[in-house]
Symmetry: C2
Subunit: 411 residues, 2 copies
């Protein structure tokens, strides 16, 4: 990651230049009422500018969203260059996913390749699921929508839904080495080493030292890293945590597929499940009501059941009828166990790696350290014990054991 | 496979036109003495023309080999079109393998892309290993060379030996959908169905019916097919049976990498091991001497040990030092069990699929049917029991049990 690639013609948008930009994009401008516009930059991720553009006369009505990639990792500044090509990857993913999972995506309004500007539906009052969970909001159908989404993209971009020649052609067209490298480094390597990107709360020092000295854990993370790199099953989302999901108004919408590449289907499910457990660690510290805790417990079961059911529903449409129901069930078991392992890696990277989460970081001490330590312990166990964790109940029960654990690490 | 793609400028060589062709290829012509040439067409495979070109004055001295792909599957005639592009895949594989495993390959003398003609070292007195095994010849070092070769190409074309961006770029450049489709169909699908490509000896009818009704077997073959399609670990040979190896004069040389693609490393080892067992089925029927039978038993152990040892030797040169010895050992276990399963599929396709092998087909009845039935039973068990087969000794012992089995299928 030592190249700073800014293609000719690239220019970052600013709130003040968006209106002029849209004057040159009549296809987008025509979606908004005539007259003055309001532009708000709302990007809270690490990699991009995000502008919400609405009519100044009706600022509460949804307009459009423009998302532009910056040539560096935003939170790190210009010291971490990253190609703007990732916007091409995101546009490519929306183009692949929209025909098969439109109900779980924002409307895709096109891509301006010279400027690396993606245009999307303005999701209006929807909010990021992570924030809703942080506030204790229940969005009952969200997990099933995400599970169904994961199944639909898994089926329709893999050898299940495509002829093998077509899948191979799409795989070639979907290579995303730079963003894969971020995952390989930040999620699947650095948290297990001393590395300048990492940080954690001092109270976790003894537990972190133990995790980084655990040779068995490192071996199993290596196995999962190898799976991530080499199991080119389907065009996966690649970053399907609760910050990549918007909820509200009866809708659940998946966003930000810029990490999409041909990888293991289990990775998307693992990302979601890690964040359900992280939300539960917060809810435990805050003493949230039982109804909310039950909602969190249901995220893993509902997403998994929806995933498996959608696969079963689509199965008669498979391209390869040699693969029967028995294969699908065997494959689901493999996906389950890999997803449990990936969930573990996602928990650990959020507690001792580079990018942490508001679920934990907005807690007051000592709850913050206690929650982080619990998540770290759960993640470690999910990785090491993934072959023996048989289903959502066992996973949740393991998490509850650690959330209630009195000894060892800080509580 | 319904397209017949013959690019502009393609013209099949004939023995009588090779000399004129070489007049236009001074780079190759200069490797041969001046004066008249002799040309022999020796292609015994299914897909290609192969010409040995030597000086007429010294016809026992090695010259050069020209290999040209035909636009159809040769044994099937023009009714099975197949792109000549596979010669591009073979040239690409030689170019990738030669820098890291030259000792186990013919010298690669270049590729004439418009004519789809590959030029290679003439291997002189070396013979195809399958034929040598059929004749009861012992080539003691061959298995270790092939195992070492498999390790070297696995290491240097995977994330072990390459930076991940480089591996991904090579994966994109190595897509080989047509030849993968042949394996997916002929090896990993059709033998388990009623299909016009299949044939077997009538004495096997009851056993074949049982195999094709075995839902558990079909499920597990589906799992292996999915691994074959999606585990893009390394640029593998893709067809590493004993007909793709030449032996003699103290050398062991791997040829015919036209099936090369980014796939599971285990597949190459499985192909070799299947053919060791097939050779043993023949040797059993013919009552070959113990020394020869011990040689066959050693093929699996020697290739596996050489594979594992070469990986260990190369490990300090790995690109990703996060992967430690513990990972390598865990990965080797996965490769072992997958290879046992793939070996099973290769045995079954050779007994009840489209392309059979001389090891069995040149036996007289009832030995021919008895050997085929044994190989079929062993293949089935390797697929179903692969997770419980712990090493070469267990594999060979299972094979011996079936080769000695008195009941059920024909003996």
């Amino acid at each position: 990651m030592d190249r700073l690639t800014v293609p000719a013609g690239y220019e970052a948008l600013e709130a003040g230049t968006v209106e002029a930009y849209l004057d040159g994009r009549p296809d987008l401008r025509s979606r908004l009422p005539a007259g003055p516009l309001t532009v708000r930059e709302v990007g809270d991720g690490n990699l991009n500018l995000v502008f919400i553009v609405r009519s100044a006369a009706t600022p509460d009505d949804p307009g459009i969203v423009l998302k532009q990639s910056l040539p560096w990792v935003r939170v790190f500044g210009e010291g971490w260059p990253l190609t703007v090509e990732r916007a091409v990857r995101e546009a490519h993913a929306y183009e692949a996913f929209s025909p098969v999972a439109a109900e779980a995506l924002p409307a895709y309004l096109g891509f301006d390749e010279p400027r690396y500007v993606l245009a999307l539906e303005d999701l209006g009052d929807l909010r990021v699921w992570r924030g809703a969970l942080n506030d204790g909001e229940i969005h009952a159908g969200a997990a099933a929508v995400v599970g169904t989404f994961a199944a639909r993209i898994a089926f329709w971009t893999s050898d299940f839904g495509l002829q093998p020649e077509e899948r191979k052609a799409r795989l070639v067209a979907s290579s995303n080495p730079e963003l894969c490298r971020i995952t390989e480094d930040l999620v699947l390597t650095e948290p297990y080493l001393e590395h300048e990107h990492n940080w954690h709360h001092p109270a976790l020092d003894p537990l972190v030292a133990e995790v980084r000295a655990d040779a068995e854990l490192r071996r199993e993370v290596g196995v999962l890293k190898h799976v991530f790199r080499t199991h080119a099953e389907a065009l996966i989302h690649g970053d399907l945590h609760t910050g990549s999901v918007m909820v509200g108004g009866g809708r659940t919408v998946v966003i930000d597929p810029e990490f999409a590449f041909y990888g293991p289907v289990a990775y998307d499910l693992g990302a979601l499940w890690a964040n359900a457990v992280i939300a539960e660690a917060r809810a435990t510290r805050l003493g949230r009501p039982d109804a909310f805790r039950a909602h969190l417990a249901a995220i893993i079961r509902a997403s998994w059941d929806a995933f498996a059911m959608e696969l079963e529903r689509l199965w008669p449409e498979r391209a390869d009828t040699f693969l029967e129901d028995g294969f699908r069930e065997a494959w689901l078991r493999i996906v389950w166990h890999d997803a449990v392992g990936f969930a573990g890696t996602k928990m650990i990277r959020r507690t001792i790696g580079f990018a942490h989460v508001t679920d934990i970081e907005t807690l007051d001490e000592p709850d913050r350290s206690t929650a982080a330590a619990s998540v770290l312990r759960i993640g470690r166990r999910l990785i090491l014990e993934r072959a023996d964790i048989t289903g959502p109940t066992a996973l949740w029960s393991l998490a509850q054991d650690e959330l209630a654990a009195p000894a060892g690490a800080p509580r």
